[in-house]
């Protein structure tokens, strides 16, 4: 079984291995043991509420309960730009027009901005190659929205994600080469690595502060602004399905887009429902395809756990959980749990339940189902 749980002290080795295999492009998680150790400490303090809510960094791992190894990680930064300065370029338009000459020129312009300051960022998603597919990536990413939803006071109303921008096989970024490198004598890979080690705002201080008129950049650089790296396309698609949209901000180094959504509009959040756990002893088939699975969380701030179960187990008030699943989630009968669809295809699985056995329950279920649809769960 695979379960999402908070990052722990003893995950360091697994985490280090994962980041080593990930290669370039994951700036927020460099393969640096000291750095990772600090991240773990920050995450522990956040989950245990030993730091200010704004300083929170919530890192979750995907654990294989058989091997007891962490095989994936994802994170939420409660607020960006409070300690360091958080920079983006805002892609906007400058219009210059002369009525006298009949000229009307639109010039796309990059403005340096700190607009994302004080906003919650979802970040640091990484999944081992062996575990890709089968909805594991979705679980790793979407579990965060369940957390944001349950503990909204800890986060901003709006959340965003920075998507990796375009770079070639050698790790050269066309935008960096045309812009950043002119101000900071360094290769993109090097700058990217430095920013992963926490130096991004230092580098940003060396970057141009005045607006950059895009026509002055070469075509190769302009072409990649607000475009994502090929490998990031699935992640972008997933976030778009959740309701995230490009907000006009791009990364100051590689031009990758920033996508954002309001928490209450995120699909996972809107489609979540509450149930109570009902631990059953009867053995149930756990092995169903991802399309028939739903995410289930234990709604715990300190020990947030999420796994997936067949949607057939969901009843009108309860969700039936075999002992091993209840143990993994650390819930007992009667504990509140929250459910959300795993896949975005088709009708929300929460509502397309297999009907209960007897007629009376069927009627009751229709009534409850109706009420659920209208937000009265």
């Amino acid at each position: 079984m695979l379960v999402i749980r908070p990052l722990q002290e003893n995950d360091l080795d697994d985490l280090y291995l994962m980041t080593q295999n990930a290669g370039k492009g994951l700036t927020t998680l460099p393969a640096d043991r000291e750095m990772l150790q600090r991240k773990i400490e920050r995450a522990r303090e956040s989950f245990n509420q030993r730091c200010a809510p704004e300083a929170g960094l919530y890192l979750f791992v995907l654990e294989d309960t058989v091997t007891k190894k962490a095989v994936g990680i994802s994170g939420v930064e409660a607020r960006v730009g409070l300690e360091e300065v958080f920079y983006n370029y805002r892609l906007s338009v400058t219009v210059n027009a002369s009525r006298e000459l009949g000229v009307h020129v639109r010039t796309p312009t990059l403005h340096l901005s700190n607009d994302m300051t004080d906003t919650t960022e979802i970040c640091s998603l990484l999944l081992s190659d062996d575990y890709k597919g089968g909805g594991n990536g979705l679980l790793l990413s979407r579990c965060r929205f369940m957390y944001l939803d349950d503990f909204r006071s800890h986060f901003s109303e709006k959340v965003f994600a920075e998507m990796r921008g375009v770079s070639d096989k050698e790790g050269r970024s066309p935008l960096w080469d045309a812009l950043g490198s002119k101000f900071f004598d360094m290769e993109f890979i090097q700058a990217d690595m430095l920013s992963g080690l926490g130096n991004k705002s230092f580098i940003a201080e060396l970057m141009p502060k005045y607006p950059i008129y895009l026509p002055m950049l070469p075509d190769t650089a302009r072409a990649v602004i607000s475009r994502v790296h090929e490998n990031t396309r699935p992640a972008l698609k997933m976030l778009q399905a959740e309701g995230f949209n490009f907000n006009g901000m791009v990364d100051i180094f590689d031009g990758g887009p920033v996508v954002e959504a309001f928490v209450n509009n995120i699909r996972t959040v809107r489609d979540s429902v509450n149930r109570h756990a009902m631990v059953v002893t009867k053995a149930i088939n756990l092995d169903v395809p991802p399309e028939q699975r739903v995410m289930i969380s234990n709604r715990s701030f300190r020990d947030f756990r999420v796994t997936t179960i067949p949607m057939a187990w969901i009843g009108p008030d309860n969700v039936r959980l075999p002992r091993e699943v209840a143990d993994v989630l650390r819930v007992e009968s009667g504990d509140p749990v929250r459910l959300a669809p795993l896949k975005d295809s088709g009708v929300s699985p929460i509502y397309s339940l297999e009907g209960p056995e007897n007629e009376e329950e069927k009627i009751l279920d229709r009534v409850r189902n109706y009420r659920n649809r209208h937000g009265q769960d």
Partner: protein
């Protein structure tokens, strides 16, 4: 004999001929259409006639005339107030230091700031000369006559003077600085923009010019090389102005990136070395060649003359010079050595 005098409406056609010839143009500020040029001449005449200091800023246009043939061979202008009541646009070259203590790096970044700082300074402009005269004393006469005019009408002009020098333009009309910067915002080629700037009010510049500073490092290599560089054809003019005391400062033209030269008006060499003398006759046509000027406003004339003898207050020149100046013995003139 060559003389410099204020332009009048009869000169219109001849000036148009010069203005239209690309090789004669050393400055882009002379209008090239009949209508605007006629206006400019009329404005110059009005400026010379008016004795009041206020109202509309004075704009003067002089011509170089062959007094024997009546041929006009060049023009030179002075705008008493650059911008003529409107903003006068330039880019100011400046440096920013982008430094990070933490990363132990520091870098000098060159920036072009849109500027109006030179607005209202006295501007030498509209200098054109037939190419065959470029190597002759007539060239110096035409350029420096303006300074002598300033010397004799000093209170019309400001304490600092500027000159825009034409920038680099490749064969085929390509202006690298324009192609890398202005073209994107004005959506027209250099020639068109240049024409508009001669004809129309300058508000279109304010409307179309990028409002924010521009990083030099983002310009094309060609444009960076052209920044602050004078057009090769302007070399003689550029050198002469430098001898006169003009120095390239931190301003460049917004269209072609050519340098703007600046000077303190009272330190201009011609102004410092020129002296007022009383006119007297000399028998011989020999002597050191000097610039000599006389007359107020529309009566202003400047020419080259052999000076036989210079006493403390008097100067002896041939009588033919008197006639050209429309002056006679005992009148006040101003001379300056060539």
């Amino acid at each position: 004999m060559w003389q410099v005098r204020p332009a009048n409406p009869d000169d219109l056609q001849q000036i148009l001929d010069i203005a239209g010839s690309q090789s004669a143009r050393l400055s882009s500020t002379l209008p090239k259409t009949e209508h605007t040029l006629a206006n400019k001449i009329a404005q110059s005449q009005a400026s010379l006639a008016s004795q009041s200091k206020g109202n509309s800023p004075r704009r003067l246009l002089f011509v170089l005339e062959n007094t024997d043939t009546g041929q006009i061979a060049g023009t030179a202008g002075i705008d008493a107030r650059a911008g003529n009541g409107h903003p006068f646009y330039n880019y100011r070259r400046d440096n920013l230091i982008h430094a990070s203590h933490e990363l132990n790096v520091s870098r000098r970044v060159e920036v072009l700031y849109p500027s109006h700082a030179l607005t209202d300074l006295t501007l030498l402009c509209a200098f054109t000369l037939r190419p065959e005269l470029r190597e002759t004393p007539a060239f110096e006469l035409l350029s420096r006559a303006r300074i002598l005019f300033i010397a004799s009408h000093r209170d019309w002009f400001t304490s600092r003077a500027v000159v825009e020098i034409q920038g680099i333009q490749h064969d085929g009309g390509h202006v690298p600085f324009w192609d890398s910067l202005g073209r994107h915002f004005f959506n027209m080629d250099f020639e068109t923009a240049d024409q508009y700037s001669g004809q129309l009010s300058k508000t279109f510049i304010a409307e179309l010019m990028p409002p924010n500073p521009v990083y030099v490092t983002l310009l094309s290599k060609d444009a960076q090389a052209a920044l602050g560089e004078p057009h090769p054809l302007t070399k003689a003019n550029y050198d002469l102005l430098q001898r006169e005391g003009f120095q390239p400062g931190s301003y460049v033209d917004i269209f072609d990136g050519g340098p703007v030269l600046e000077a303190r008006t009272d330190s201009l060499k011609t102004l410092v070395t020129s002296q007022q003398k009383t006119l007297h006759g000399s028998e011989t046509p020999d002597g050191e060649t000097c610039l000599i000027s006389a007359g107020e406003g529309a009566e202003f004339r400047c020419l080259l003359t052999p000076v036989a003898e210079t006493l403390t207050d008097e100067v002896k020149v041939p009588v033919s010079t008197w006639h050209a100046l429309n002056r006679s013995a005992g009148d006040q003139v101003r001379i300056s050595p060539l």
